[in-house]
Symmetry: C2
């Protein structure tokens, strides 16, 4: 790619951990290697909000200085809100790419359904922009994101080289630590087996709090979680068409 071209590219960076997180700064740094960067992200932690959007309340956009000195915009909404508002109102031109992450915590298997990180990228895809979600298996703010950054770099290069078919988003995950390779994967069926803990508050009223542990239900290296557990990064092409095409023709012959 020529430097001339890359200077003209505009890349929108969003996340769900909040604009102040280490992960979004790392992803903005990767984005800067490919074009001009705009960061528009939630003003607070928004994990597990899924594809939530704000319709009953107004949204506000405030300037936010990133750790690198970059001027970002903080929005009091969800990741999907940020992408909608940025592309409709806050950017001076349409982005060539939307990146979401780097999330602190993986988004693989069933868990991508709950992910604000993935939903920001999916929202970008719905709006017609090539979009990539990037997540790191390590939760901590001190996680080594170098391998995730390289995985993101590979995915961004892939998209600028090949484009993405309409309706397709890339979901990238990587372990913490240095890059050891990346594989194309499918979304696995692994999930958190949730349990609720029943406790009493100081007024002796009961409340429930979710807890859970990851249950590995997939066999084979075509699945995201197994590739990650093997120390490699994964990239899964995902779609927002939820139609169960594999049963549609059978069902459509059955009486209802």
């Amino acid at each position: 790619m020529s430097k001339q071209l890359s200077k003209d590219r505009l890349i929108l960076v969003c996340n769900d951990d909040g604009i102040f997180s280490k992960g979004i700064q790392a992803l903005a740094d990767v984005a800067a290697e490919f074009g001009e960067v705009r960061v528009v992200a939630p003003d607070r932690q928004q994990s597990a909000v899924g594809h939530s959007i704000t319709i009953m309340d107004p949204l506000r956009a405030s300037p936010f200085k990133m750790a690198s000195g970059l001027n970002g915009i903080a929005v009091n909404g969800t990741p999907a809100d940020c992408v909608k508002l940025a592309t409709d109102q806050l950017l001076d031109r349409k982005p060539d790419l939307i990146l979401s992450g780097i999330n602190h915590g993986s988004n693989a298997g069933i868990n991508i359904i709950y992910s604000g990180t993935v939903s920001a990228a999916t929202e970008g895809t719905i709006l017609g922009f090539p979009s990539i979600a990037v997540s790191c298996m390590e939760f901590g703010e001190d996680a080594d994101l170098s391998g995730c950054m390289e995985a993101a770099r590979r995915a961004v290069s892939f998209v600028f080289k090949n484009g993405l078919p309409r309706g397709i988003t890339l979901n990238v995950n990587a372990p913490g630590g240095p890059f050891k390779g990346i594989r194309w994967t499918k979304q696995g069926d692994s999930r958190y087996e949730d349990e609720y803990v029943l406790r009493k508050d100081p007024m002796n009223n009961p409340y429930y709090w979710i807890t859970g542990r990851m249950e590995i239900l997939d066999e084979g290296m075509e699945f995201d979680i197994n590739v990650l557990n093997d120390g490699l990064a994964s990239v899964t092409p995902i779609q927002y068409d939820l139609t169960a095409h594999k049963v549609f023709s059978t069902f459509s012959e059955m009486e209802i």
Copy 2:
């Protein structure tokens, strides 16, 4: 189906409009024709929360008397929270079916991505229970839900007769008014074209508020929105596996 059998069935009913809504009472009435009913639903309006779950806060469950006199349980969480908490803690046995709705407003085309109604049913499917989402095209609390109730009845009968393959949810929509027929459909690509209105608050600070209008992008009666606009009910089999299988084999041969 024998009455003996139906008495043994337990049906969990949830929604996203809140436990006090007219739609959930109508769906509980349909459920009562097929088995014993438990209602566990959000204590407030939760539209457009998508597949959001509550992980950073405790959940509380409070008794709620339904309009019909049925004892329901109101939860201070999202639709997906309600399904998780009900099946893990609040029900005395596992449900044979989970119903979500009747939503006031359709969940067809792209919009199902944002839907709390659909996410409650999807959560049921993830947890291994046959699950159905039901939505009505009319928003008003005075909408005639009779056609939606019949569409729900057809879908419930279908599931109790045929079962549902693992990982498949039924997404049912119907116009307001009397039942005129039901068709198997695919999720269309139609969506709201969003725009944000920029206004000033009483302190002269700017804020944005989402607005939009439905954009019909699908041609053909295999798509949900077109069937609905033709006055019929639609039922779409959907899945939570987001892998874009149609591009996977091509992508997996390409360098990344």
